[in-house]
Subunit: 342 residues, 2 copies
C-alpha cells in the first residue's frame, strides 16, 4: 500500500487474481473485431485498467519542490513511517502555502506531534503546546496573515468558453451528476474543485474537502490559521468545510500511517494523555527538494483523454462485478490517480 | 470515543472547552426575548447541541435482538475491543440478515478473523479459509440463497402522499440538495436511503453505502453472498456499490477498533501473511440478546422534529466557527445520531 490505490469492491479473495490478470493484460481486442468474429464482447475496462493503460503523455510530473515530506516516529516494530503531501499549485491558497514553506525551512515541525485523530473526520498535527504562551514553540518570522477572502480562488475565465480544461463536470466529457454543495464540481489542474459563475465570462473555483486533502487548522473567524497546525481528511468528505477553511494540499503517499492511528479519547478526538492516549511524534518535515532519494511522482492529468475515460468508468462501473452502473459519481469518488513516475 | 460522535471542525484545542460548555448548557433564550431586550441574538445551535437538547420522545430504542456484538482479540495492551452492529429492520435485506442470525447462533465467526483492511474503503471479516475447500469452516444448515432482485426494497407508498416520513430530502423539511447517484435521498426509519418513483403511488427505496454501513461480501453475479463474509465502510461513501451489494446494518459503537487497524499489504488491502501482515482475530460474534450487560441503545428518530432541525443544521452550519453555510449536504454527511439510552 502507499500510493492512492484504486478500489475494488468487497469481493472474495479468489477474484483478486483475476482482477490483477486483467489489469496487467495488454489492450483488449476491439469490440468491433470481436463482434465481426462472432465472439462475445470483452468486458468493459475497470477504472484501474484504464489508468494502467494510460499513455505516459497523459501523466504530469509533480515537482519535488511542491512536496512536503513528513517522517513520523517509527512504528512499534521500528518501521519508518513517511507521509508525502503534494502542495497545491498557484493560485490556490498560496499565502498559507508560503507560510508552510517557511515553517518547513525553519524546522518548525521537528519534534512536534500528531495531536488529534477523530474517526471518520481528521488527523491533526502541530505543536501540542501551541496555545500555551509559555511552552509554545516560536513561529518563524515573516509569516503572512491571510484573510477569509483568500479561501476563494477567482479564475477569470468563462465556464462556457473553456469548459473542458476547467472541470470534468462542466465538460463535454462524462456527466457525473449534480452535487449537494455547489453548482459545479470537477477537476482543475489535477485537483478536485467546485465552482460557480460570478458574472459573464468569469467563474470562481475553490478546492474541496475530499479524503486525503490537507487543510489549515484555525480558531474562530477572523483567525484563518497560520499553517503551523495542519489536518488531513480521513473520513467521508466533510464538504461543509469548503470555503470555511484553507485547503493547501493532499496526501499522495503514506496516508495509512495517519488514518490507522489510534483515535483520541479526548473531546473531538484530541489525544488525552490523562486517559492513556499517546501522541505520535513527528521526527521531521521537509520540502521535497531537501530529501535525498525521494521518488518522482506524477498524476494522471485531469485534462487528458485517459482521465475522462477513467472518470466515466468510475461513474458507470461496467466491469464484471457490477450489476447496475450508478450513472453518476460525486467529485470525491473520482480520486486523481497518483503514482511513482515510470 | 465509541458511539457515533458529532464532528466539529479542525479547530484549535482552546475552542473545545467553549464548545463543550455550549453543548451542555440548557436551552438558549428565545431569540424574540433577546431582541426585545435589545441584546444580541444567540448564536444558532450546532448540530450536536440540537441532538443534546432533543427530548426523550424523539429517541427510538434499538432492540437487543437487532444487535450483533463482535468481540475482537484484545489489543496490544490487553484492552478489549468490542464492535456493536445494528441490523437493518424489515423489509430491508431480511434474507441475508436471517442468514446472519443463523451464523451467529451457530458460532460460525468465533475463531475467524479480520482479513482485509483497505484504506479509504472497507474492513472485511470472516473465515480466512472460506475459499479453500479443504480448510473452510462448514456453514450452518438452512442458509437462504438470495438473488440480486433482493437488493431493492420496494415500498409501495407514494412519495407524494407521505413525503415527510419517508426521507428528509423528499420532505417538507430542509432541502438538502441533489445527489449524484439517485433521484431522491433521505432517511427512512433511521436509515440512509435513496429512492426512485416507479409508478404512480409507488416508490422503490434502497439503503446506501455511508461510512459505517455493513454489507455482504460476494463473488461475481449471480452469487450475492451468504452473509458469512461481511465488510464495513471506513472511507468516503462508495455509493457506486449501492444496489450492487446487500447492505445489512451499521456499526453503532466501536468502529475505531476496525477503522484504525493496520492496512493490508496484499492486493485490495487483503492481509498478506507473507509480507508480515497479522490478522486480527475474532473471539466471538453474538446476537445482542445473548450478551449480558449490554447497554440499551437508541437513535434519534429520523421522523422527529429534532432530526429535521439537526439535518437542517448539518446542511447549513450557522454555529460560530462557520463563515459560509453550505446550503446543502449529501446524505452521508447527515449521520443518524445513536447513543446509549438515558
Amino acid at each position: 500500500m502507499g500510493l492512492q490505490t484504486l478500489h475494488s469492491p468487497p469481493m472474495h479473495k479468489t477474484l483478486i487474481a483475476l482482477a490483477a490478470l486483467t489489469a496487467a493484460s495488454p489492450a483488449l481486442p476491439q469490440a468491433s473485431a470481436a463482434i465481426a468474429a462472432g465472439k462475445a464482447q470483452p468486458s468493459p475496462l475497470a477504472p484501474s485498467e484504464i489508468v494502467a493503460q494510460a499513455p505516459k503523455a497523459d501523466w504530469t510530473g509533480i515537482a519535488a519542490s511542491d512536496l512536503l515530506v513528513m517522517d513520523l516516529a517509527p512504528d512499534a516494530k521500528g518501521k519508518p513511517r513517511r507521509v508525502v503531501i503534494q502542495l497545491m499549485p498557484a493560485p490556490f491558497s498560496q499565502g498559507w502555502i508560503g507560510n508552510i514553506r517557511k515553517l518547513a525551512a525553519a524546522r518548525f515541525w521537528d519534534g512536534t506531534a500528531v495531536n488529534r485523530v477523530q474517526d471518520n473526520y481528521v488527523v491533526q498535527w502541530g505543536d501540542p503546546d501551541a496555545e500555551d504562551k509559555v511552552k509554545a514553540k516560536a513561529l518563524p518570522e515573516g509569516l503572512a496573515v491571510m484573510s477569509e477572502s483568500d479561501y476563494n480562488t477567482i479564475v477569470r475565465e468563462s465556464l462556457d468558453r473553456k469548459r473542458r480544461s476547467e472541470t470534468s463536470r462542466m465538460a463535454n466529457g462524462p456527466d457525473l451528476g449534480p452535487d449537494a454543495y455547489a453548482r459545479f464540481t470537477g477537476h482543475h489542474l489535477g485537483w478536485p474543485v467546485a465552482a460557480e459563475v460570478i458574472e459573464e465570462g468569469a467563474s470562481r473555483l475553490w478546492p474541496v474537502h475530499c479524503y486525503g486533502m490537507v487543510g489549515v487548522g484555525r480558531d474562530l473567524s477572523p483567525n484563518t490559521g497560520s499553517g503551523a497546525e495542519l489536518y488531513v481528511v480521513i473520513g467521508h468528505a466533510p464538504r461543509h468545510l469548503d470555503r470555511n477553511i484553507a485547503l493547501v494540499g493532499r496526501v499522495i503517499e503514506g496516508i495509512e500511517h495517519l488514518s490507522s492511528l489510534p483515535r483520541g479519547k479526548g473531546a473531538l478526538g484530541f489525544y488525552d494523555l490523562a486517559q492513556g492516549d499517546e501522541r505520535t511524534g513527528i521526527v521531521s518535515v521537509r520540502l521535497g527538494g531537501e530529501v535525498k532519494g525521494l521518488p518522482a511522482y506524477e498524476y494522471l492529468s485531469t485534462e487528458s483523454g485517459s482521465f475522462a475515460k477513467y472518470a466515466d468508468a468510475r461513474a458507470n462501473r461496467r466491469d464484471a462485478f457490477f450489476i447496475r452502473p450508478a450513472d453518476g459519481a460525486d467529485i470525491c469518488n473520482i480520486p486523481v490517480p497518483v503514482r511513482k513516475a515510470k
